[in-house]
Each structure stands twice: as structure tokens, then as C-alpha cells.
């Protein structure tokens, strides 16, 4: 059967399932085979997907997380890494609040391509988009090809958040998504991210408390139709 990366199983839908105040759009970018889809799968399903097919265009995942007591729905766009899709995937960057830029610590070439990915991310998103650099496959220490220190330095030079993670063991996967969300939320709090900007990548949803709505939408009237 098909599986859907649902944040909550439908059985729990009865208990206030849609209570979140924000939606953040994320994109995951980086070379083919660095484990973008696996990171997403680990994050949404808490499982390692050993045999992952190439992504066509973009795939999606959602999960609701909590930052400073606020429920946030992450709408994650997992883009195809294949070079031939590059032109297509560029179309998807727009309106991202966060970007996970992933490389494989065991393959230096994927690290070397980061500047090109970063250029795209900077050019195609808004200036407030939070970019986090992820060195994936941290479990493969023996095959390491990129040191933690140099990646850390690259991140600092370019104003990126940075973490090494493993989609296989789950190490730091949660944090990667959360750190970016915290930073975005912080930007909202200190006013540097304008929620009304068209491409902020953040939607604010006034949550509907029990017993009354914040919006003054009148209840549907059971009135006649005047005919």
C-alpha cells in the first residue's frame, strides 16, 4: 500500500488535529544521493528508508512541531538532486522560509558543489530565508571525506546554521528541522521576518479556540432563499 507522511495517524484526527499557528515552507536541496529524501523520511516517519528511489521533481512531507509553545506545521519540499532536474527544481524554491542544504560527509564532490546550491538558494528565496547546512551520513565516520571543522567554517563564513546528521541512525535529524524552525520563529518574533510579505514562506493561522472563533464570520444562517 501507499504511505503518506502524515504527522498524525488519522485515528487521532478526532482530537484537535489541526491546531497549529504557523505553516513554514521548507525546501531540501543538495546533490543527488546525499540523502535528502531519507532525512525527510526519518523526520516524518522516524524510520530509515534503505532503498530510496530517485526523486522526480519534488516530493512532500509534513509534520507538526512545537517551538516555544507554538505549534508549527512544516510543509517540506524535498527536491530532486539530479542535475537534469536542476532547472525544474529551481521553480520550487520560491516562498521557502527555510532551506536544508545537504551534502554527504563521505563524498567531497557533494561538499564542493555547495556554493552553487547556496547561490541558487540565495537568489531564488527571500533574504530572510533561514539556511541550515547538513552534513549527512555522519554514521559513516570511517569513510569521512569532509571534516567537521571545515564545514563549520564554511557555514560560519556564509551565515548558515550547521549540523552533522545521520538519516540512518536518526542522529540530529530532528534538530536539523527544529533549529531552522527556531531561527525562523525568532525572526518572526523580532520582526525581521514580515509575515505579510508575499514570499515569506510563513503563514500565520490564528488558531480557533473552542467555543468561539477569532474571525467574526457569522454562523451559516438557516434562512430562506427568498424565492
Amino acid at each position: 500500500m501507499h504511505s503518506h507522511p502524515l504527522p498524525e495517524p488519522s485515528a487521532t484526527m478526532a482530537t484537535a488535529p489541526y491546531n497549529y499557528s504557523y505553516i513554514f515552507k521548507y525546501i531540501i536541496i543538495g546533490d543527488m544521493g546525499v540523502g535528502k529524501s531519507c532525512l525527510l523520511h526519518q523526520f516524518t516517519e522516524k524510520k530509515f528508508m534503505a532503498d530510496c528511489p530517485h526523486t522526480i521533481g519534488v516530493e512532500f512531507g509534513t509534520r507538526i512541531i512545537e517551538v516555544s509553545g507554538q505549534k508549527i506545521k512544516l510543509q517540506i519540499w524535498d527536491t530532486a538532486g539530479q542535475e537534469r532536474f536542476r532547472a525544474v527544481t529551481r521553480s520550487y524554491y520560491r516562498g521557502a522560509a527555510g532551506a536544508l542544504m545537504v551534502y554527504d560527509i563521505t563524498r567531497r564532490s557533494t561538499y564542493n558543489h555547495l556554493s552553487s546550491w547556496l547561490t541558487d538558494a540565495r537568489n531564488l528565496t527571500n533574504p530572510n530565508t533561514v539556511i541550515i547546512l547538513i552534513g549527512n551520513k555522519a554514521d559513516l565516520e570511517a569513510q569521512r571525506d569532509v571534516t567537521y571543522e571545515e564545514a563549520k567554517q564554511f557555514a560560519e563564513e556564509n551565515g548558515l546554521l550547521f549540523l552533522e546528521a545521520s538519516a540512518k541512525t536518526g542522529e540530529n535529524v530532528e534538530d536539523a528541522f527544529l533549529e531552522a524552525a527556531k531561527k525562523i520563529y525568532q525572526n518572526i518574533q523580532d520582526g525581521s521576518l514580515d509575515l505579510n510579505a508575499a514570499e515569506s514562506g510563513v503563514q500565520h493561522k490564528p488558531s480557533a479556540p473552542q467555543g468561539g472563533r477569532l474571525t467574526s464570520e457569522p454562523q451559516p444562517q438557516r434562512e430562506g432563499c427568498g424565492c
Binding site: M1, H2, H4, L6, S10, M13, A14, A16, P17, Y18, N19, I56, G57, V58, F60, T62, Q75, W77, A80, Q82, R84, F85, A87, V88, S91, Y92, R94, K205, S207, A208, Q210, G211, G212, R213, T215, E217, P220, Q221, R222, C225, G226, C227
Partner: protein, 503 residues
């Protein structure tokens, strides 16, 4: 139960209010009691396709404008629309999916109901959509057009309106999928009232397109409205399980639609810049080719008669697989086929378990216990929930398939098939998908009528209407998504030409 029986059943139920009163009298209840009971009866959520419409404009002046738009495909009327130029023409074909949606029957019923209810008809709405798409170029255009039309269209008077619409729908030659939705015609205006009132997103969504929104935005906002509703009114079992909009989003239908829109928009602006850079003969040739491709996007008409009585279970799989292979892309419609198959199996299982259940419910009927009543009720609601879920999932998968197809068209590998051939296969695919949705709505409503023989009409009818409406909406979404592929294929076409000229 045969088709005829179920239709008749529906017909009988249109006057459910009278029936209820009668029942109430028989049971010795007072009329007011019966009324109150009806009030508290949870009205299952039925969602209407989100439709844009500025609330400020009176429907009366809008109506004739919509008329003209519909028929303006015919050359005679076109002259009056020189105003729109080629722009208007291209808009017409884009909007056609919205205008000529599934089920002439259904749209007629809706239009009738909407005329009386003062709700904008689908045709008006599409004219609004077009106005909105045009941006603020001609803010006063629609009212001017309305006046124009009044003079040039004497038939479009008060009485001619509906018949003109239906002929217009046919004469445009756009796809009119009338299969299986006839039954809705038997459902009375009362049900339509229920739909209009019970739809939380409806009032809100009416004005949305004014802000140049895309379909996915409109759907997203309608869904959010539903979310709010669900969050505040957690008491109704049906509502939680059967929210089409929420489910469609859960199955990532909205996301794929949004992604497809992004690809479509980007392609559209590329096409424009290519055309702008050309001139003279070169421009004319390309323009002509682009027009030809557009023609492949007018869905051919098809007739109910073409459908065999009982299509084999394998037929859909075979057809879709074949059409998909014609596209020559490195992807298969496996997910769609799986989803469709599991829904089909559910129905088959339901039907095979039927005789036993019927017997049981008869026994319950004799005892007339509250428990028995409750069980029966849950079962129709389960069917309804499953139907809505399946429709949402099938639609999401179809849109995902179109999105993936667009991505693969754009990735710039050498093309083995022409853009026009691909367009033809895709338009055929759209029809197969819409037919399938129509078949599903028929099957699900048959399940509902069978399981709900003992149900009150005001319980059963909204459920049945809901299934038909969502099936109709689903088909519209699929047709709209198909239209989004046009600029993508235009880019393919342009790229293929460039490749050719470089050789």
C-alpha cells in the same frame, strides 16, 4: 439494487420534509417536535467547489455576462468580443475546464438552485475567474459586457437563461462528462439549500479569485476554513472523517497542485519571452504551432453510450498504463493504480457482504431499537467517509501524476514524442480519470442507497449529494490541472524546434 430503483428512491426522497411530517404525525408527535429534531440533526459536511465571486456585485447583472462568455466560442459571437482579442480567446480555453465540468446534469441542477438561491452559477464564476485573471485591466468590463449582451442576446432573457447555458455547454465542444451524475437531478432544491448552508468555506471563498489567486490558493483557503470548522465543532462524527479539503491536503494534493502551478507559471513566462523575441514569419509559424497544441487541450466530447455496461476491473489499469507509456517518460502511474484498486476492492467487498447486512437490518427494523438505528446510521456515514476519502486520494494522486509528468517533460531530455502527441495522450488520460471518478460516485452512492434504505431522507440525501458534488469537484480539479500542462508542453514544443534547427 438496480440503477433504476436507486434513482427512483432518490426521487422519492426529494420531498423528505413532507414525509417526515407524515411520519411524525403517525407517531403522534407534534409538528414542532419534528422540526426541532431536524434542526439538531447533524448536517454532514458537503463541500462545494470553491468558487470566487465578489459579493458586492448583484447576480442579476452578472448573469448575462456569463452567458456571453460561454457561447463566445462560436464565431458569430466572437466579433462582439474583439475587445478581448486573442487574450480572451486563450482565457476561454483555459477556463473551459472550469466551465464545462463533470456532469451537465449536476451543473444544471446547481445552476437552477443557485439562480433561486442567488448564488453565482458556475458560469458566472468562471467569468469572474477570467476577470480576475485579467487583473485590474478592465475593472468595469463585466458590467459593460452584461449590457452589450442583453441587446445581442434576446433569448438570454429570464426564461431562456438555463436552456441557453446547457446548449452553450454542448456547443463549445468541451468535455461534458454527463455520465453517472443524472441522479443528482432527482435531488431537490432542499438538498441544495443544505449544501449552501452547510458549507463553511463557501461564503468565504466566493471573493477569493479577486486577488489573482491560483486554484491551489483558493483550495488551500477553503481547506483552512474547514480546519477551523473542524476545530470548533468536534462533535459531529461525519465531519471529521469526511472533509474532502482536509483529506485532499493530507494526500498532498494541494502541494502537488501548487508545485504544478509553479512549473506552469514559469513555463508560461518563458513561452511569452520566446514569442516576444521572435518576429515575422518565424513568429507566425511558432504561434500557429502553439495554437495547434492548444487545440489538443480542448477535451473531446464523449458520450455515455460509449461506456460499456460493466467495465472490467482491469480496463482502467490497462488504459492508464497504455496512455502513460505513450508519453515516453521514466515514470509509471503505479500509485494511482494502487489507490484506485483499493477503493474498488472496498466497494466489491461491501457489495459481497450485502445480503447478510440487509437481513440484519430488517431484523433491527422489527425491533425498532435505538441501537439498531444507530448502527445503520454509522454504516452509511462510514460509506460516505470512505467515498469522500477515496475521491480525495484519487484526485490527489491524479494531480501528483500530472505534476510529475510536467517535471519530466521539463527536465530536458531528448523527446521521442511530439508535444502534440503527448497532449493527446494526456487529454485522453484526463477523460479516463474523470470517467473513473464518475463511475466511483455512482458505485458509492449505490452503496449508500443500499445501506441506507431505512434511513431518513434528510440523513441520506446530503450524504449522496456530497459524494456527487465531490466527485464533480474532483473532476474539475483534474481538468484544471490538465490545463496547467499546456504551457509546459508549449515549452517542450519550442525546445524541440530549437533542437531541430540546430541540427
Amino acid at each position: 439494487m438496480s440503477e433504476k430503483d436507486s434513482s427512483e428512491n432518490l426521487k422519492g426522497e426529494t420531498s423528505y420534509e413532507d414525509e417526515n411530517e407524515q411520519k411524525a404525525e403517525e407517531l403522534g408527535c407534534t409538528g414542532s417536535n419534528a422540526e426541532r429534531e431536524q434542526e439538531v440533526e447533524p448536517v454532514p459536511m458537503t463541500r462545494k467547489r470553491p468558487e470566487p465571486k465578489p459579493p458586492s456585485q448583484p447576480a442579476a447583472t452578472e448573469k448575462p455576462a456569463a452567458e456571453t462568455l460561454k457561447v463566445s466560442d462560436s464565431p458569430a459571437v466572437q466579433t462582439g468580443w474583439g475587445y478581448w482579442g486573442s487574450w480572451g480567446k486563450s482565457l476561454l480555453s483555459t477556463a473551459s475546464a472550469t466551465v464545462a465540468t463533470v456532469g451537465q446534469g449536476i451543473s444544471n441542477v446547481i445552476e437552477k438552485a443557485e439562480t433561486t438561491l442567488g448564488i453565482p452559477s458556475p458560469s458566472e464564476i468562471s467569468s469572474e475567474t477570467r476577470d480576475a485573471t485579467r487583473g485590474s485591466e478592465n475593472p468595469g468590463a463585466s458590467s459593460t459586457d452584461a449590457v452589450d449582451d442583453g441587446s445581442s442576446f434576446p433569448i438570454a432573457g429570464a426564461l431562456g437563461v438555463l436552456s441557453t447555458i446547457s446548449t452553450a455547454v454542448q456547443s463549445t465542444g468541451k468535455s461534458v462528462i454527463s455520465g453517472g451524475l443524472d441522479a443528482l437531478e432527482f435531488i431537490g432544491k432542499k438538498t441544495m439549500d443544505v449544501i449552501a448552508e452547510g458549507d463553511p468555506g463557501f461564503k468565504k471563498t466566493k471573493g477569493l479569485m479577486n486577488r489573482n489567486s491560483t486554484l491551489s490558493q483558493v483550495l488551500r483557503e477553503a481547506k483552512e476554513k474547514e480546519e477551523q470548522q473542524t476545530a470548533t465543532e468536534v462533535t459531529m462524527a461525519t465531519e471529521k472523517k469526511a472533509h474532502y479539503g482536509l483529506l485532499f491536503d493530507e494526500f498532498q494534493g494541494l502541494s502537488h497542485l501548487e508545485a504544478l502551478e509553479m512549473l506552469s507559471r514559469e513555463s508560461e513566462s518563458k513561452v511569452k519571452s520566446v514569442l516576444n523575441a521572435l518576429s515575422g514569419e518565424e513568429l507566425d509559424t511558432l504561434k500557429e504551432e502553439v495554437e495547434q497544441l492548444k487545440e489538443a487541450f480542448s477535451l473531446p466530447e464523449f458520450f455515455e453510450e460509449e461506456e460499456e455496461e460493466k467495465k472490467g476491473d482491469e480496463e482502467f489499469t490497462k488504459e492508464v498504463t497504455e496512455l502513460f507509456s505513450e508519453l515516453r517518460i521514466s515514470s509509471k502511474p503505479d500509485k494511482l493504480i494502487t489507490v484506485r484498486k483499493s477503493a474498488h476492492e472496498w466497494i466489491a467487498q461491501f457489495n459481497s457482504s450485502l445480503p447478510k447486512e440487509e437481513k440484519e437490518s430488517e431484523e433491527n427494523q422489527e425491533v425498532e431499537s435505538r441501537d439498531g438505528d444507530h448502527d445503520a446510521k454509522r454504516s452509511v456515514e462510514d460509506i460516505h467517509a470512505f467515498a469522500i476519502r477515496s475521491l480525495a486520494e484519487l484526485t490527489a494522486c491524479s494531480i501528483e501524476m500530472f505534476h510529475k509528468t510536467a517535471a519530466l517533460f521539463l527536465h530536458g531530455q531528448k523527446q521521442e514524442v511530439t508535444a502534440t502527441d503527448r497532449a493527446k495522450s494526456l487529454s485522453q488520460m484526463t477523460i479516463v480519470l474523470c470517467k473513473e471518478l464518475s463511475t466511483f460516485s455512482k458505485e458509492f452512492t449505490t452503496c449508500l442507497t443500499t445501506a441506507g434504505v431505512k434511513e431518513k431522507a434528510d440523513v441520506l440525501n446530503p450524504l449522496i449529494t456530497g459524494v456527487f458534488l465531490e466527485a464533480s469537484n474532483s473532476a474539475s480539479y483534474i481538468q484544471d490541472a490538465f490545463q496547467l500542462l499546456l504551457p509546459v508542453l508549449q515549452i517542450s514544443l519550442i525546445e524541440a524546434r530549437t533542437e531541430l534547427s540546430q541540427q
